[in-house]
Amino acid sequence: MANAPSPSPTSSFSFDLTRPTETSSSSRFGPRLGKARLVRTDGSPDLTIETPGLLTTTSRGIVPHLSRDHHRRTAAIRWVGLPFETFLEQVPPVPTLQGGPHPLHTFLGYPPARNTLVLSLRDPACAKQLPPNGKDHISALSLRGVRKVSKDEWRGYVAACNPDLVPRALHRMARRPPPPIPPTQSQSQSDTTTTDTTAATHPLNVLVHMAGGASIPARTAFAESLTEPLYGPDAALVQPLATLDQGVAGYTFDLVPLRNALGSAAPLGLASAPDTPDTAALAPLLRASLAPLPATKLRLANSPASPHEILRLVRDVGVDVFDAAWAQGAADIGVALDFVFPVPVPVPDAGSGLPDTEGGKIDLGHNLYDDRYASDFSRLADSLRAGNTNAQSTPTSTFISTSLSGSDSPAICPCAACSPLPPTAHIAHSNLDALSFPPKTNADADADAALPRQSCLPPFSRAYIHHLLHTHEMSAHALLVMHNLAVLDAFFAGVRAVLRSKPKSASSFGFAGEVERFVRRYEEGAGVFERARGMWAGVDRARGKGRLGRERAKNAPAVAETLILGDLVPVGETTLPPDTIIDLEV
């Protein structure tokens, strides 16, 4: 890849803070509103995404469980995080063969007009220890084991893929134990790497991974190094920029290695033990990294553990984008999220049909494996309405949400589970098919346009998804991923709405006040997720890959019991992936 084409980016990235607009030192770490803009120079429409917002994570390049049509229908999918490492299984990696103005978008099916692709070599949520990176290569993990990627190769891959943003390719400092790394050493080491990546892509399309581990001095030193003027060969590489920071669009924080460095053993993607919210320890580290740097650039955090942590990082650090790994992971294990921000006023009674309650708080979602949902025909979330209901007929319409939205009933969940839409078109396979699927008349179409809510079909019920989960049907996870992304997207819309509202206006608690109300309302612990994971493992063991072998080992009646009861397995006992594909048709 030494002869890789020189990069020819077809988009340029900019980020504007809309509130606060001036960055005094007091507001440097406060909550903020922003707009991330991609200007496409190839004629495709520009793309603007509001922050705070979510970044959808991917596995092997795609959003897990979503077919193309479902993915297109999920408006929450805007920022997309793409680890490249699985593509190293083919030489050369196949996305680099695609060609055209947006090879990565095209290959993976992300419309450039809708999706901002953040391409990293490694999966930021991967906590696995890899062999150390060398002077000229980076270690990455693919299905066929560890692959060494030279910096030239990576540069070439990025150029051939034309993603929208590229985090600096690795975070080796974070994997190392915290100091004793003398600041000078960390400087020189990181400078080299950063310079390489900066030169490899459009200067403004690079995000820097903020290194320094759990050491505040190391993080500060790394950050300061970005703003120091460069001299000699380094300066030549980044000309006409005076400092590395001038060439970067924003900063990323990978919370998984950071939590590991802090010694917290939080399970991947899910909240840690209830009484040890580690945001308190994270926030100072993030602030140490940001303090020496301009406050106007994008801040992205990977692998937040919960909405509680997201709110604290918005409030205490001013992070702009968070990945949705925990919400997507909840869909893998059968949890339908059910929470809103800001919490409606007054807080609705925690009656039947509401999520589990612990100590007066309610859970963030429903473990739909639980038998309590076997004949619960209500929609997935109490806190969001189904598309086919209007305010008058909604059972929850007695809830009064804060007046921010100007509405006195919960917002509609737009996902394909809560607001399924009848097909807009049916593929015609013969000239006679119109007899089966009569074309819509103009009058029908007008009626649909006038009353879009009425055109929604009834929502999929908890009972149906409970059934799909226990029968190991993949449709359950497709519906839950779309729902959970929609719930998280609505949560961020709520965050932005609160931040946009006039401080101290009537019925407003202010952002900090709303965060406190949220924390008081919703359980932060992972109880519901742990219970779901245990039941998921039970069903997967009874019906998933390897089932036949296990059945042979047992006698038949015992198998039948396992199958029906979905016995509970302690968390962490299973190693099977949630998307194991099985076969139960006859």
């Binding site: 795609i62 077919s67 013969s430 000239n431 089966s436 006859v586």
Partner: protein
């Protein structure tokens, strides 16, 4: 049910029919995808419908175990439960009792099996099967039949055939008394194994009961019998079944089998093959199935079929991307499942158009040339189509080969 024959092929026995059920019109011949557990694997009801599918199948045995009849009743039926607004067919549960349960004993009263819940002996009678199907609420319901393995020979086959006739009487009586006849339609299932005389006797008896049934299925095939036997039994049944009733070949899903059945006069078929094989990375095409796991597809940036209107192909999902995710990501299964269902629907939709246009023999010749031109025509297909007046070899220089002719992409060399 309203059933109307719109066109007949002047050469073969193929026909186009319009079948109107409580949940709309389904044009025949058609292929029915199987939603065993109230979901086509990985898809939603809306996705399936958008593929141009208007009739799917649920399995009574499975739905009776989970979620159970009580929940389906509370949900307002299986349509409502799974969000499917089009036509639905349920089997009787008899086949799965035999194929899935080691402990099933058939008595005259019904099928005695060990409950998977409690292990206790449980009886599924013809009346009970119909009642369960009434609760599920499918537009087409099937009689409980006494199913024996296709390859069984001897007196057991005759006993099963005769019992299936007696059970049909009980199903008809129970269905007639239920008051559901206006919205749900009972189909009989012709049994008799691979014995021509038993099939004839079963046909005699079941045709006598035509006033009690809305349609007929041909059961007991697709269970390992020789293809030459398979098509002859299909032909024997299709030739004799009443012209004014739909004919349903159970468990048929390979493209070549489907078109032979249509030529012999079959209107409907179902099989898990297209959806199951999708999950293992097999995509169906008009030149034969392709195995996406093979290295030869790993860098192929073309879609499975550039002319295919399915969401996967029309959105440009490449073979290379599918190869990268197949069997590792559920989304790959979804993508290939959508494609394969659309493929089956295209195959049958083109047959409908060809029959309407009086060009079905030409369609058969083109399909089989594209499909088998490279490897030779299986002899059984040549014979089956000759029996209805189409000679695949006429004007073609294609070799005739032995074997069942099922196409498969085994290795990178093929």
């Amino acid at each position: 049910m309203e059933f109307e024959v719109l066109a007949r092929c002047p050469t073969t026995k193929a026909r186009v029919c319009k079948m109107t059920l409580a949940h709309g019109v389904t044009m025949l011949p058609t292929f029915m995808p199987v939603a065993t557990q109230a979901a086509i694997k990985g898809l939603t009801a809306q996705q399936v419908e958008s593929l141009g599918v208007s009739l799917i199948l649920n399995n009574t045995y499975h739905l009776n175990l989970r979620p159970g009849i009580k929940i389906l009743e509370d949900a307002g039926g299986a349509h409502r439960f799974q969000g499917w607004t089009r036509n639905l067919l349920t089997d009787s549960g008899g086949f799965q009792l035999v194929s899935l349960s080691k402990f099933t004993t058939i008595t005259e009263e019904g099928a005695l099996f060990a409950s998977p819940f409690t292990g206790e002996p449980t009886m599924l009678t013809p009346e009970e099967s119909i009642s369960i199907q009434h609760t599920i609420g499918a537009d087409i319901i099937m009689q409980l039949d006494d199913v024996v393995s296709t390859l069984t020979i001897g007196p057991r086959v005759e006993e099963a055939m005769e019992r299936s006739v007696r059970w049909l009487d009980r199903c008809i009586a129970h269905h007639d008394a239920s008051g559901k006849k206006g919205v749900q339609n009972l189909f009989a299932i012709v049994q008799g194994g691979i014995d021509v005389s038993l099939r004839d006797r079963c046909l005699d008896e079941m045709i006598k009961r035509r006033d009690g049934v809305a349609g007929y299925a041909i059961g007991g095939l697709s269970g390992g019998e020789a293809k030459d036997t398979f098509w002859r039994i299909i032909k024997q049944c299709a030739d004799r079944l009443p012209d004014d009733r739909p004919r349903y070949a159970m468990g048929i899903g390979f493209a070549e089998d489907l078109l032979v059945c249509v030529a012999l006069g079959v209107d409907m078929a179902d099989c898990v093959f297209p959806t199951r094989t999708a999950r293992f990375g097999i995509a169906l095409t008009f030149t034969g199935p392709i195995n996406l796991k093979l290295q030869k597809h790993a860098k192929d940036l073309n879609p499975i079929d550039k002319d295919c209107p399915c969401p996967t192909c029309s959105d440009g999902v490449s073979r290379a991307l599918l190869s990268h995710i197949i069997t590792l990501e559920t989304a790959a299964s979804h993508a290939v499942t959508q494609h394969n269902i659309a493929f089956q629907a295209r195959l049958m939709g083109r047959a409908r158009d060809a029959i309407m246009a009086g060009a079905f023999p030409a369609y058969l010749r083109k399909f089989f040339k594209d499909y088998y031109g490279d490897v030779g025509y299986p002899e059984w297909i040549v014979n089956a189509l000759r029996s209805v007046g189409v000679d695949l070899l006429e004007g073609e220089d294609v070799e005739v080969v032995q074997g069942d002719g099922a196409k498969w992409e085994y290795s990178d060399k093929s």
